[in-house]
Subunit: 126 residues, 2 copies
DNA sequence: AATAAAAATGATAATGATTATTATTATCAA
DNA sequence: TTGATAATAATAATCATTATCATTTTTATT
């Protein structure tokens, strides 16, 4: 696998800011470190990193796709108030693909489990 | 709850075409029955139907939001080849919200579980 | 039934996220 | 060093969705 400076930087910044950012947010984070970088380059490299399995997409949020530097099996909780994305450990629901197969015969290549609700921060402030 | 002719028609067509269509696809299906209807009206009414719990959104597909006339608890399988959305019965994974709560303390208002892979049709044709 | 108020519509402009295009630049093997 | 290939920055184009607004429909009230 070949890495351009831009792709390396994007991956580094994503790994050092595990906040499940959007492409736009990542652009904002990367720009101070490489002011000449283009938003299109951010999108292009994020897609490539997803394709080669280095990172993961999180969809299901309002509009924009978010990116996850963690490729270990886990799930997500999205706060309906502040829109923050929280990680949910895998042991909340294990072997879903296996259950899918035994119930339906279908074989899953990937599984996305996302909960929505109020996070504890937003519960307090209401 | 109040229903305009347009809203009633949109809901009817969605219920009679349980193919998890996008707003655009639904517009295409409704137009022959009411040629004067506007795409904006389709979007507006779909949002209202979602808000009052008559239908559900499915996100996580490439780009567009899909709509589900079935509000019973269930999950989805999306074919990575033909992009069709299949229903997955609830008993594949029950009480996920309860498990989430006991593991993390978080309370989910909604849960979305989506598998991706090749459907049996697409497996055959490859 | 008449009518004022409220809600919904159709048409279309505007927005926001993402992808495509294109001319230019970086990388690297021969 | 050259030529081939891949990647880039800039920006135009696309696609899904929402906002706007003048007009029409529905609803409630007299």
């Amino acid at each position: 696998m070949n890495f351009s400076k831009q792709r390396e930087l994007i991956l580094d910044v994503l790994r050092q800011n595990p906040i499940h950012p959007t492409a736009d947010k990542l652009y904002e984070l990367v720009r101070p470190l490489m002011p000449s970088i283009s938003l299109a380059t951010v999108y292009r490299n994020l897609n490539q990193l997803v394709d080669n399995g280095s990172i993961r997409k999180i969809s299901g949020l309002d509009g924009a796709v978010h990116y996850d530097h963690c490729v270990e099996k886990h799930y997500h909780f999205i706060c309906t108030c502040c829109n923050k994305v929280y990680d949910v450990p895998y042991n909340v629901a294990e072997d879903l693909e296996q259950k899918l197969k035994s119930f339906t015969g279908l074989e899953a290549q990937s599984t996305e489990l996302t909960f929505k609700g109020l996070c504890s921060d937003c519960q307090k402030s209401n």
